[in-house]
């Protein structure tokens, strides 16, 4: 202890004082006179200042201006300061701090270290009771006990490094030293930890309601919450129980193959209370990058005029959550939508007003990030067809509106079209295009279906840019077109099928202007048709009575190979095969998107499908020619 020499000196000085004060008492028998005390204090302080530590001297220097006062029995704390045996009238007010002056200046206490264990001297009462006699004061031996080291059990807080240190040292002496040191170190660490914990406990109550609301409205919170809630919703919907015990419990519900040979089974039904109710599904598209994502566009909700007219929702097949991945909307009803093929984050929509809108799922906005202008250079009629054609490095967005105008755009700049073309037939009649299809791998030639029931082929570039041929056959507006897209040993890209309001689906080839075959199984408007992307002879069509039909040309051309009727018989507006060819999505007039799994026997092509299709086509051709001959003969006859 660094202070021990000073305390010993204090002890000596007090002894000295003890001798002096009784002398005074004898001499004066009154209060110590001012002059005497003054001189005494001077001498005392002089001697004391040399030996005492700084804080004590500091307080003492205050007191040099004041006389030393007698401390009587009513002083509470400073009982180790030897009092004068006389002067009961001497009053001194004890002040805890000791260094403050009170007004009258008579009260003066010296501020000593109040730790009673350092000095034990006689209390006031002892001295006052006794008659004054000089004598040896009892010297009290004070033993300084070692600082109490609180020991903790190993499990709680001992740091392992110090433990190993102590255990490693073989010598006992060294061990003891080490033990002494880590213990105070642990103590200080624990104290610090306690303090920190207290601070931590205090801080949770810091945020007021206002601050919380502020936080909730901040940008970072929105971004975090958008991401976090998405993940949590997916995780919540997972019903996989990894801890399931097959041995103990009965299997209550048998998941898995219900029917091995099922033709089509409903996999998912997507609809959103707020965004898709009372709206008609106008278009569907599967994402090329993420096969589980499906975009569905909806037109306006007549029963909610204040909601945005056009909605596009991106649904996720992979997770079982029932809410859309992304919700996009715009001011005009969306008539067609597509994933931008070479831009995984963009969704393109063609609207009723003629605007083409672009949504980006990287932005947090639900409104379009880009829009084409509403001007004569762009579209002014509803855009029913949008498609991204080309390659990674050279692609365009093609859009056609119902006034026959075809524009090609660059996805980076939608402020004006790169190229526009008026589709007119025979230089006068504008073609009201309702559907469009590009053959596989072709970026120049395409087919369009129009409201007048004819199908036209056209070219984008070249000398014959515009409409080339007309294919007449339908008696009502053409609602859907699809070009053959299943690649294989034989190329069937000249084939395309069209659906129309005249209850039929017709099979065409670009080599002939008359239909090859007409599929007349339906009893209602056929709204859409699509070839399977994997099976060459398979296509799907949907009609207004809620039926989804799968036709396999190699099996039977008279009746569909598989058919399913949707619950409630809503009119099915759109049909889209997934890129894998195993699932079909349909959109209906109630705003529901239904995804069906197609049975393997039907949708997976066998190796000979292509050659069989060749034979089938030959047969169809022969039948057609025979039919025409017969018809011609009947006419003649």
């Amino acid at each position: 202890m660094s202070l021990t020499p000073t305390f010993l000196s204090l002890l000596l000085l007090f002894l000295f004082l003890f001798c002096i004060f009784p002398l005074f008492y004898f001499m004066t028998n009154q209060l110590i006179t001012h002059s005497l005390t003054h001189s005494l204090t001077h001498s005392l302080t002089h001697s004391l200042t040399h030996s005492l530590t700084h804080p004590l001297t500091h307080s003492l220097t205050h007191s040099t201006a004041q006389p030393l006062r007698v401390i009587t029995e009513d002083t509470c704390l400073f009982h180790y300061l030897v009092p004068a045996p006389m002067s009961p009238s001497a009053k001194s007010m004890c002040s805890e701090t000791g260094s403050q002056d009170s007004g009258d200046g008579n009260s003066r206490t010296l501020h000593w270290d109040p730790d009673p264990s350092t000095l034990q001297l006689h209390s006031d009462s002892d001295l006052l009771g006794r008659s004054l006699r000089l004598g040896m004061a009892k010297v009290t031996q004070v033993d300084f006990p070692p600082k109490q080291s609180v020991s903790y059990s190993k499990e709680t807080q001992t740091p392992t490094c110090t433990q190993t240190h102590t255990q490693a040292k073989p010598a006992e002496e060294e061990e003891e030293e080490e033990m002494a040191e880590p213990k105070p170190a642990e103590e200080s660490k624990e104290e610090k930890a306690d303090q920190e914990e207290k601070q931590e406990e205090v801080t949770p109550k810091d945020l007021t309601e206002e601050e919380k609301m502020q936080l909730l409205h901040s940008e970072e919170f929105m971004a975090f919450f958008d991401r976090g809630s998405r993940i949590v919703e997916r995780a919540l919907s997972e019903r996989v129980d990894v801890c399931f015990d097959y041995s103990g419990r009965d299997l209550e519900d048998k998941e898995g193959e219900m029917q091995a040979g099922a033709k089509m089974s409903l996999n998912r039904a997507f609809s959103d209370e707020r965004w898709s109710k009372n709206r008609v599904v106008t278009c569907l598209d599967w994402s090329p990058q993420y096969p589980e994502l499906l975009v569905a566009s909806y037109n306006n909700n007549e029963e909610a005029p204040h909601e945005p007219d056009g909605v596009a929702l991106v649904w996720n097949m992979k997770f079982k959550k029932t809410t859309p991945e992304y919700t996009f909307h715009c001011q005009s009803a969306v008539m067609s939508a597509a994933f931008a093929r070479f831009h995984p984050n963009l969704v393109v929509g063609g609207t009723y007003s003629g605007q083409i809108v672009l949504w980006d799922n990287r932005s947090n906005k639900r409104t379009p990030v880009q829009r084409t202008p509403l001007s004569a250079s762009a579209h002014t009629h509803p855009v029913y067809c949008v498609n991204v054609v080309g390659t990674q490095n050279a692609h365009n967005l093609i859009s056609i509106s119902t006034d026959g105008k075809m524009c090609s755009w660059s996805l980076d700049m939608l402020s004006q079209p790169q190229d526009s073309l008026e589709l007119v037939f025979k230089q006068s009649k504008a073609v009201a295009v309702t559907s469009m299809a590009f053959p596989l791998g072709d970026v120049n030639n395409f087919v369009v279906g129009s409201e007048d029931g004819s199908v036209y082929t056209a070219c984008r570039h070249g000398s014959k840019a515009g409409i080339s041929d007309v294919f007449e056959g339908h008696h009502g507006p053409v609602t859907g077109l699809s070009c053959h897209s299943a690649g294989g040993p034989v190329d069937f890209s000249h084939l395309f099928i069209s659906a129309s309001f005249d209850w039929t689906v017709k099979l065409w080839t670009t080599k002939s202007t008359r239909p090859l075959y007409s599929f007349e199984d339906s009893c209602d408007y056929v709204y859409d048709v699509m070839w399977s992307p994997t099976h060459p002879a398979l296509f799907a069509c949907v009609d207004g009575s809620g039926r989804l039909d799968l036709w396999n040309l190699n099996n039977d051309t008279e009746v569909p190979s598989a058919s399913v009727c949707v619950n409630g018989s809503p009119a099915l507006n759109r049909v889209r095969w997934a890129h894998s060819g195993r699932e079909i999505a349909t959109g209906d007039s109630d705003g529901q998107v239904l995804v069906y799994d197609v049975g393997e026997q039907i949708c997976v092509p066998k190796a000979d499908e292509w050659t069989r299709l060749v034979h089938t086509l030959v047969e169809i051709n022969e039948n057609r020619d025979e039919g025409e001959e017969l018809a011609a003969q009947r006419l003649v006859a």
């Binding site: 976090g228 809630s229 993940i231 919540l236």
Partner: protein, 96 residues
């Protein structure tokens, strides 16, 4: 802001969800659907656990970061979606 409310309500009304807590970077719960004592308990414990899990992931590979934390216990499932600044905690009873 209304979307946040709507989403929170939707999560809360999901089948089996017992409670939802949103915690900020200092471990202070901002939104909660549980009572105060439970919230404070969950927040304190899960905040520390998330920090520990994140530091574990980063110690193994400094380029990596914690994306999602899911604790499946006998009775409940606790899901924590962490972020640089916030935590979204959802407690679900998966057997419902």
């Amino acid at each position: 802001m209304a979307e946040v409310e709507e989403t929170l309500k939707r999560i809360q009304t999901h089948k089996g969800v017992i409670g939802t807590i949103v915690v900020n970077a200092e471990g202070i719960p901002i939104r909660t659907t549980l009572d105060n004592s439970t919230t404070v308990q969950y927040t304190g414990l899960l905040h520390q656990l998330t920090m520990k899990a994140r530091s574990t992931v980063r110690d193994i590979d400094p380029q990596n970061d914690l994306a999602f934390l899911r604790i499946r216990s006998k009775k409940h499932e606790i899901m924590v979606a962490p972020d640089k600044e916030y935590l979204l905690i959802v407690i679900q009873n998966p057997s419902e």
